[in-house]
């Protein structure tokens, strides 16, 4: 239980999206439904973990001067592979996310972790780093999409992208009280601003407590 609490705290304190503002283009754009958030999140977990493994295993033979182009080629290859797999097996996600799947290449989280972590650490540590960072990203996307979907559509639903069957669907807000604006860009910016402010408030409170000690 304590370990779980620690995990939640580090998720809030070192959150890559709301704390460090990495990868926010896709966060703002695709969080209109939980389906999109999970699809995007899982794609990023896979790409980030494999790219961390690959970059960490070639870290000793990569010349320092051309490391960034090497990382970009690795990430672009993986992204294209995932894009083709999604198009073949989960076309619903391909339609919903569109150009944001290829744009994973320029998602700062992936290049950031390659440069800051995988290029300096062992393969095993980099694998774990990829999984946790990817999970933190997915949970941030999910948090945003749940808020936006519930406020705008009044329902919370999740469907299986491979079969298009509905996993669950809950009606929460009656039609006349829904706030459609949360589906729009304005809602995306507002939700993000308030979540980021919440994370900052937690960080400030902890900084204060640590200061008193």
């Amino acid at each position: 239980m304590k370990a779980f609490g620690h995990f939640l705290l580090s998720l809030l304190k070192e959150n890559p999206v709301f704390g460090l503002y990495l990868g926010i283009c896709s966060t703002l754009a695709i969080t209109t439904s939980l389906d999109n958030a999970i699809g995007m999140g899982v794609s990023v977990i896979i790409i980030l973990t494999i790219s961390n493994i690959m970059i960490s295993s070639i870290r000793k033979i990569t010349p320092n001067e051309i490391r960034i182009p090497v990382y970009i080629v690795v990430i672009a290859t993986l992204t294209k592979a995932i894009e083709l797999l999604i198009r073949a097996y989960a076309p619903a996600i391909d339609v919903a996310l569109g150009v944001f799947i290829p744009l994973i290449v320029v998602n700062c989280i992936i290049l950031g972790r390659a440069e800051a972590f995988a290029s300096k650490n062992t393969v095993w540590k980099s694998t774990l780093d990829g999984l946790t960072m990817g999970l933190a990203y997915t949970l941030s996307l999910a948090a945003m999409s749940i808020i936006r979907q519930v406020l705008a559509d009044g329902i919370l639903s999740l469907s299986n992208p491979f079969t298009n069957s509905i996993v669950f669907k809950i009606n929460l807000i009656p039609a006349e009280y829904r706030i459609a604006i949360f589906k729009e860009p304005i809602g995306a910016f507002l939700t993000f601003a308030f979540l980021a402010a919440g994370v900052a408030a937690v960080q400030n409170a902890h900084a204060k407590k640590d200061g008193v000690k």
């Binding site: 503002y21 926010i24 283009c25 896709s26 703002l28 754009a29 960034i68 182009p69 970009i72 080629v73 672009a76 290859t77 992204t79 294209k80 894009e83 083709l84 150009v99 290829p102 744009l103 290449v105 320029v106 700062c108 290049l111 729009e184 860009p185 304005i186 809602g187 995306a188 910016f189 507002l190 993000f192 601003a193 308030f194 980021a196 402010a197 919440g198 900052a200 408030a201 400030n204």
Partner: protein, 191 residues
């Protein structure tokens, strides 16, 4: 001709790349503290996007399509963009040191600016011909620069106003972005 003007206006203000497609958020939050650097960044982005669009579009239709290698688009485009940015940097350093000084620090950042990759990919997805591609790849970064400039002038004043502690910095900037997105929705129906 009318079609091209419509394409231009609709991509500068109506479907603005920052406020409706949320691309280029990192430079928007990072470089928008001073209006002078916003203009420098904007000009550099326009130049890189038009240049790399011409390269990638030509490469796609003269090399990748005849060889049946369309699935290599992502890898080719990102390498072209990275090489082009590097080339521009070296060229400016040697032949126009004053311009290099003005744009220098923004150039390396442009490789990971998602607007660049987005425009080169979208040129292909939309099936533009050469002239449409030129107009589109000029219009999108112009919209980016417009928002970046307006945003930076607001932020200069924001720095001097009192903001709740948790909202300091980026959260309040995102509230500003939300208000700007609201204003820009009123351009729908202009064309």
């Amino acid at each position: 001709m009318a079609g091209l003007i419509t394409l231009f206006i609709s991509n500068v203000v109506i479907s603005n790349v920052v406020l409706t497609k949320f691309l280029g958020m990192c430079p928007l939050l990072g470089v928008s503290r001073k209006s002078s650097s916003a203009v420098g960044m904007g000009l550099a982005v326009i130049f890189v996007i038009v240049g790399s669009s011409i390269f990638t579009w030509t490469l796609y239709y003269t090399v990748l399509v005849p060889l049946g290698l369309q699935y290599m688009d992502l890898i080719t485009f990102i390498l072209v963009i990275a090489a082009f940015v590097q080339f521009v940097e070296l060229f400016l350093k040697k032949y126009s040191p004053s311009l290099y000084k003005a744009l220098g620090i923004y150039l390396p950042l442009i490789t990971t600016n998602c607007v660049v990759l987005y425009v080169t990919l979208d040129n292909i997805i939309q099936g533009f011909d050469f002239v449409e591609m030129l107009v589109y790849s000029f219009a999108v970064p112009t919209g980016f620069m417009l928002v970046l400039y307006i945003f930076s002038t607001i932020r200069e004043r924001l720095d001097q106003s009192t903001v709740p502690a948790a909202f300091k910095g980026n959260p309040i900037a995102l509230i500003v972005a939300a208000l700007m997105a609201a204003i820009f929705t009123s351009f729908v129906g202009l064309v």
